[in-house]
């Protein structure tokens, strides 16, 4: 592969994803004139917001070499219990305070994950499978199992749910919550690329033992990571409540594999150490594009799941091929070294 081509392709296949998205968009636009409207675009943005927030959390965990399936449980636990508590107290402290409280709850639940994973060095998948069930069980048994409808939500939440940043003729609108979502995405990107904490997450995902030896406090970094991811999940949960104008303790859980698929499609390595916010955004957009608009291509909606699955396999396949490319099959195949002879 030539240098220019591999630059276009990007470090995590971002270029490839952009190309795939463009192909899908063109195909949809050609087959249905209704597709290429601002309304469709804003609907895509709206449906991508919650998955993107979850995906950012999953991205960070994947980079650190783990896998988290408990985030939907944390999200709905934090959002539902906070909303229920606020309603029960008869207070309405405003949507931002409610979101802050929910994120605090999410951080505490994330702390549980982090402590168990980091202190006892247990496999992340198993731990989060366990905590997912625990969080969900506690939520349903002790906090509540009743659906909270828009009528019962605090007025401030309903007001926020109805605030649009931009309305277009024909019924489309850009929801106000896109602002905090973009801010969070930028913050996560900066955290990952510009802070020692972020670089430590990459380092731990690359080689945990090496991270320990170079002086990274692996336990502390992991605990903080899961706290952060818990808070992020809770934000996603509140976003879900706000956008859907309801709080249902049975919702969200079950969507984890779609989110993980989108992140992996976005170039994050399932083995840790690789992934970017840009790739994740593209992965989420692609999956939502498929989910929302496959019917426009004349493909029955029952094929959605299969389409996402095929995309995921293609994404992982591209990753595997990319990983095989730079290294030959054995050290001896490398050309003789001549580039850095020590100048005496």
């Amino acid at each position: 592969m030539s240098g220019r081509l591999s630059r276009l392709r990007g470090p995590n296949n971002e270029g490839l994803l952009v190309a795939v998205i463009l192909v899908v968009v063109v195909a949809m636009a050609l087959s249905s004139p209704a597709f290429f409207t601002a309304g469709t675009f804003f609907a895509l943005v709206r449906s991508s917001m919650v998955p993107l927030i979850f995906a950012l959390g999953v991205l960070m965990v994947l980079i650190s070499g783990g896998i988290d399936v408990s985030f939907p449980a944390i999200a709905i636990f934090a959002a539902y219990s906070t909303v229920k508590w606020v309603i029960g107290a008869g207070a309405d402290p405003g949507p931002w305070v409610i979101i802050a409280i929910a994120m605090l709850v999410g951080a505490v639940l994330g702390l549980v994950n982090g402590v168990v994973i980091a202190r006892f060095r247990l496999p992340t998948l198993i731990v989060t499978l366990g905590t997912q069930s625990i969080f969900k069980g506690v939520l349903i048994s002790y906090i509540g199992s009743v659906y909270i409808s828009a009528a019962d939500l605090p007025d401030s939440v309903n007001a926020l749910a109805g605030s649009h940043l931009l309305d277009v003729s024909g019924g489309g609108y850009l929801h106000f919550m896109i602002v905090p979502v973009v801010v969070v995405a930028v913050l996560v990107a900066l955290l990952l690329s510009r802070t020692i904490f972020g670089r430590s997450i990459y380092a731990i995902g690359g080689d945990t033992e090496a991270a320990r030896r170079v002086g990274i406090d692996v336990v502390r970094t992991q605990v903080w990571l899961y706290v952060l991811v818990g808070a992020l999940a809770a934000f996603g949960g509140m976003l879900y409540v706000i956008l859907g104008r309801n709080a249902n303790p049975q919702s969200i859980v079950g969507t984890e594999l779609d989110i993980i698929a989108a992140v992996v499609l976005g170039g994050a390595s399932i083995f840790g150490g690789r992934g970017s916010v840009l790739g994740t955004v593209l992965g989420v957009v692609l999956v939502q594009l498929i989910n929302n608009n496959l019917v426009l291509l004349g493909i029955p909606s029952t094929w959605q799941r299969a389409a996402v699955g095929i995309l995921l396999l293609l994404g992982v396949g591209a990753q595997a091929l990319g990983a095989r490319r730079p290294n030959g099959h054995s050290v001896d195949v490398e050309p003789p070294l001549e580039r850095e002879e020590v100048a005496a």
């Binding site: 990459y202 080689d207 840790g272 070294l337």
Partner: protein
């Protein structure tokens, strides 16, 4: 700079026991600035434990570590790093997913307790070290894409980014070829001139004596020799390490002139790898193939075993022409192969020794009904375990827990159990200590004497001289020399390889 008087590192009478067994039993040594001190010993002699104590990973039961005149009772890894002690581990401990620059600078960024990571600061720090050592490295490349030798240079640069006073290199030459070792030594000497004390951990005797001023030898946790390197010869160190006389004499018998030809290559070639390779291997013969890195020596072996099949020429096994397009073909033709990287290519690490041994020959234990003949399996496992003198508690032990020498014997056992006509070994003693090396070569001699044809691919020239009847030298994919009988001599091989 000549070594000055005050030592930068002193270890006094360190004792460490694990579960009642002395890993270290009263070891003392000191390191002067600008000195290369070699720590030699076989696997399990306590070298690694000593490194762990000096770097603060393990606490000694008794004894002290003194760094720059300061006595540390409870040395932590942080203390050690801040006092200027750096360890370059055998696996380098680099981050494959990060750039070379970030790998180098990560340590100082952490030591400075930074919060914000700046790309320009990282690049500047990395560039400073790299230029300081007069190296040329692609700082933007991911470490995963670099060669082993370059990764090692990155590890060295990283160790130096924070002004290391003491550099401990754990088996730094294991994965390197002859030229790369020379380059490493040039760098070590340069560090020495700047007053860095280097502790060189190795079991390769020639290297030890070439680079170091002083030597400390450990055996079973005890300090059995220490003193000026000039007072030692490879033989005295080998004796100290193993506790017995070790022979590296050339010990090859005659191949009977009427021995049948087992393997015959006729103008074998593979585009981009090698071409026009012809030779015949007879029963009872040990043939060595050597050459520089990239000469094509490994490709020849991989073609014989069908990993990367040849695309021209013919291979005849025991007189019949065989088409070897895959590993399966080679195994059917009666060829066995011990790969270069046995840990990833030759063994199931988390499986027992016993299961590894019979992994290649399961078919031959088929009883009626397609089940395994358990009794025969057990018998041959016990036989191999004994014959190859594998040091492990029992055949149920995981291969992961074995030392390099013992793991290599398990790979050998796996192929011997198949009773191949021809056994090809690629770097059979890489990472194996002297005692085991001698025994592995003895096993190969036995097998050859019993009528097997053996091919050893290696760049360990003394080992080839010790074991081989005949040596082929490969250069740029062609066999350029053939040495037989009395011509086989280390200096002669070196000379022809460089030519």
């Amino acid at each position: 700079m000549a070594p000055s008087a005050a030592p930068v590192l002193e270890v006094h009478d360190v004792v460490k026991t694990y579960g009642g067994i002395h890993a270290l039993n009263g070891v003392s040594l000191e390191l002067l600035p600008g000195e290369v001190h070699c720590l030699a010993g076989e696997n399990g002699s306590g070298k690694s434990t000593l490194i762990k104590i000096i770097s603060g990973v393990e606490k000694p039961d008794s004894g002290t570590v003194v760094i720059n005149g300061r006595t540390h009772r409870h040395l932590t890894t942080g203390d050690a790093i801040r006092s200027g002690i750096q360890v370059i581990y055998q696996d380098f401990s680099l981050f494959p997913n990060l750039s070379a620059a970030e790998n180098i600078a990560m340590l100082s960024e952490l030591a400075d307790r930074r919060r914000i990571s700046s790309r320009s600061r990282i690049r500047a720090a990395a560039r400073r070290v790299v230029e300081d050592l007069g190296l040329r490295l692609d700082l933007d490349a991911d470490v995963a894409d670099l060669t082993v030798a370059d990764r090692q240079l990155i590890a060295i640069c990283r160790a130096l980014v924070n002004d290391a006073k003491v550099l401990i290199m754990d088996e730094p030459t294991t994965a390197l070829t002859h030229t790369e070792v020379e380059r490493l030594f040039t760098i070590v000497r340069r560090l020495q001139e700047r007053g860095v004390a280097v502790m060189f951990v190795s079991h390769k005797l020639d290297e030890v004596l070439e680079i170091s001023q002083r030597v400390t030898v450990l055996r079973n946790g005890a300090q059995v020799a220490s003193g000026a390197a000039a007072d030692h010869t490879p033989r005295t160190i080998a004796k100290a390490m193993t506790g017995r006389e070790v022979s590296d004499e050339r010990l090859v018998g005659e191949v009977p002139p009427d021995a049948p030809v087992l393997l015959e290559l006729d103008r074998l070639g593979r585009a981009g790898g090698f071409s026009d390779v012809s030779f015949a291997l007879r029963a009872g013969e040990i043939l060595g193939i050597t050459g520089l890195l990239g000469s094509g020596r490994s490709e020849i072996a991989e073609a014989i075993f069908g990993i990367h099949p040849a695309d021209s020429g013919t291979i005849r096994v025991a007189g019949t022409e065989r088409r070897i397009r895959s590993i399966r073909d080679a195994v059917h033709a009666g060829i066995g192969y011990v790969p270069e990287d046995r840990l990833t290519q030759g063994l199931f690490l988390d499986v027992s020794i016993a299961d590894n041994m019979i992994a290649a020959s399961l078919d031959s234990y088929r009883a009626r009904g397609g089940l395994l003949d358990r009794r025969r399996v057990r018998d041959s496992i016990a036989d191999l375990f004994r014959r190859l003198r594998i040091q492990a508690p029992n055949v149920g032990a995981m291969v992961r827990s074995l030392s390099g020498g013992n793991a290599q014997r398990v790979v050998l056992a796996k192929w011997l159990d198949r009773k191949p006509a021809v056994l090809v070994l690629n770097g059979p003693t890489v990472g194996v200590d002297i005692g085991s090396k001698e025994e592995i070569i003895a096993i190969l001699r036995e097998q050859a004497a019993a009528g097997m044809g053996v091919i050893i691919i290696s760049d360990d020239i003394p080992e080839l001289v010790t074991a081989c009847h005949r040596i082929l030298i490969v250069h740029e994919g062609r066999v350029v020399s053939e040495l037989t009988g009395d011509e086989v001599d280390a200096h002669e091989i070196q000379r022809r390889m460089a030519a």
